[in-house]
Symmetry: C2
Amino acid sequence: MGVSAKMRRSLEGSSWIRRMFEAGAELAAVHGPGKVCDFSLGNPDVEPPAQFQAALEAVVHEAVPHKHGYMSNAGYPEVRAAVAAHLSTELGVKLSGDNVVMACGAGGGMNAVLKALLDPGDEVVASVPYFVEYGGYADNHGGSLVLASTLGDFDLDVAAIEAKIGPRTAALIVNSPNNPTGRVYPERTIRALGAMLAAASRRTGRTVYLVSDEPYRHIVYDGVTVPSVFAAYPHSIVVTSHSKDLSLPGERIGYVAVHPEAEDAKTLVAAIVVATRVLGFVNAPALMQRVAARLQGVSVDPALYRTRRDRLYGELTGMGYRVTRPEGAFYLFPKAPGGDDLAFVRALQDELILAVPGRGFGLPGYFRIAYCAEEAMIERSLEGFRRAIARFAGRG
Amino acid sequence: MGVSAKMRRSLEGSSWIRRMFEAGAELAAVHGPGKVCDFSLGNPDVEPPAQFQAALEAVVHEAVPHKHGYMSNAGYPEVRAAVAAHLSTELGVKLSGDNVVMACGAGGGMNAVLKALLDPGDEVVASVPYFVEYGGYADNHGGSLVLASTLGDFDLDVAAIEAKIGPRTAALIVNSPNNPTGRVYPERTIRALGAMLAAASRRTGRTVYLVSDEPYRHIVYDGVTVPSVFAAYPHSIVVTSHSKDLSLPGERIGYVAVHPEAEDAKTLVAAIVVATRVLGFVNAPALMQRVAARLQGVSVDPALYRTRRDRLYGELTGMGYRVTRPEGAFYLFPKAPGGDDLAFVRALQDELILAVPGRGFGLPGYFRIAYCAEEAMIERSLEGFRRAIARFAGRG
């Protein structure tokens, strides 16, 4: 005994991303770390923008009494107000600080939101492929994930989502720009989604909340912008972090914004705050809250990632890989040559290249490449990608 | 609908500490904030030790690539090693970094530990009075709290705890120095507890883990030291934070240490790490991990709190309040004159003094004073305390 049976199952089914991480450590131990091309982790390799260090130093030198003490569990009022001011412009809906709760990263925010929404037995809909941790997040609060398919280009299939909504559905999670596909759902899709959710909520007699997990909002290419869910559906909640736009994933700073016209909006914010406390987060880290307030609207330059996308996308398609061109985030999600994602990821490992099989995102037959990786590594990997696909030539 | 039924009940039953906080805000609005004596919150008023600012600045100026990026979910290896080295001395059991998981404060650590240990329906034993959030923590993971009484001086009642242990018992939580009583459980109690838990585990056929929540370990007075649970019982887990010893509660930095000889120790550490990720914490904040590594063994001077304890304890006992002299933490837990803690706390509010009724800690008939408060406020409050007890003279 000891560790719970439930957690033992979790450990056994431990995520593919983690398994790849471990496989990488083994390969690195044998061949030397400089030889392994690790595309398995979404850990930004671009440093925070220059303004970050200046803001951090300013905050560190600020003379404020009890500046590392507790504040309201929702976050500092002035930080929430700064976030609200920025979001009002970005999302096209007027927000106040009362609509914002500071969170320990998007993962912390997602858990606080789901704890506020879910009763045991409730369902949360998501579209495949998806970030598998969503399943754990729903389960944390007695809920379960119900999966809908996407269209061929990985756009949301609104009809497929609709078919999954029933009286137990508390929320739909969307993630755009998407991990693992890099897809940005277009405005027409988000509008259609909003209309469908309104109709589905009437049908079931229960408001389905739209939870938009959007930490990659500012990592977009070629003039693409991410449509506002707030403009499309009032019962919306935006969850995000500064993990990607400011390259601060280790600092766990993010926030939740509740549409001011969402059903139960005020109670929902209060519930998210209580959830933040009861889950043990208590509040988002104090110092990074103050830093974030000074950097609303600042972001790393997505061109740094676009260069990598262009290079890898161009080379891989030239080699015969079939892959939807990503519009944002820093992932490629190609079809696995031969059709078996596990077999293909193992073939890549033979080339000292680490990627994550599609089944790690609920969609076998594909694999994910996280190209938030230094350009030299990308160059070094190309021959390996070429040899791997050659081994599967004519097999799918 | 909207917010879950379960969360609605939480909001309605919202903690007494929070209610006092709200009552305080109302009183401050009417009478002016400078008039209200707020003893309701355990928010350290002592600033972090001088070494903290130096360490923070050093870490902020350190040239380390990706210093705000993801690290292993367990924390930086060098930070875990620094904590382990310090704990090995403090707890008298040799630890390595592999026995330590960095956490988002003690609240984050407690949740990760309970998620690792609990299956639905499991029980966690705690002693009354207790920090009520423990109930929420157990419930988060499908468990429930079972409460044991304490002795007259608030020392643990080992026999009472033993009577609550059955086959569903996964863990016992102890908290020393204690919130709300300020009691430090003596060595003989901890030894007896260890022996009892070993026997109880044999009796039920299930190892009962001892989870020691000890953020106040370094806030102790008069030469008292906090005995090591690790020395008394191998199946022990220490959960703590730097919220009190470094006065950093807003920064959410703490850790979990698993006894190297605990049953299932290695799997348990792995499970705590997965729980940290799945709950959405992902990892303890990166920058504060590095700061904490430089400050192991550093603490605020408890004499700053002892002065307040001596003043309030001396004055209150002189007025006729009956209160156990605290040996640590920064709380007094007097008997409510008249016996009704709600009535007495309301009488204190009439004097513009805020305290928390004992029922907020599972023990009606007492009230909690958090004396982590500026000395001028303590002086200002004395007349009010005197008038309040006078109103209940001869009534209990």
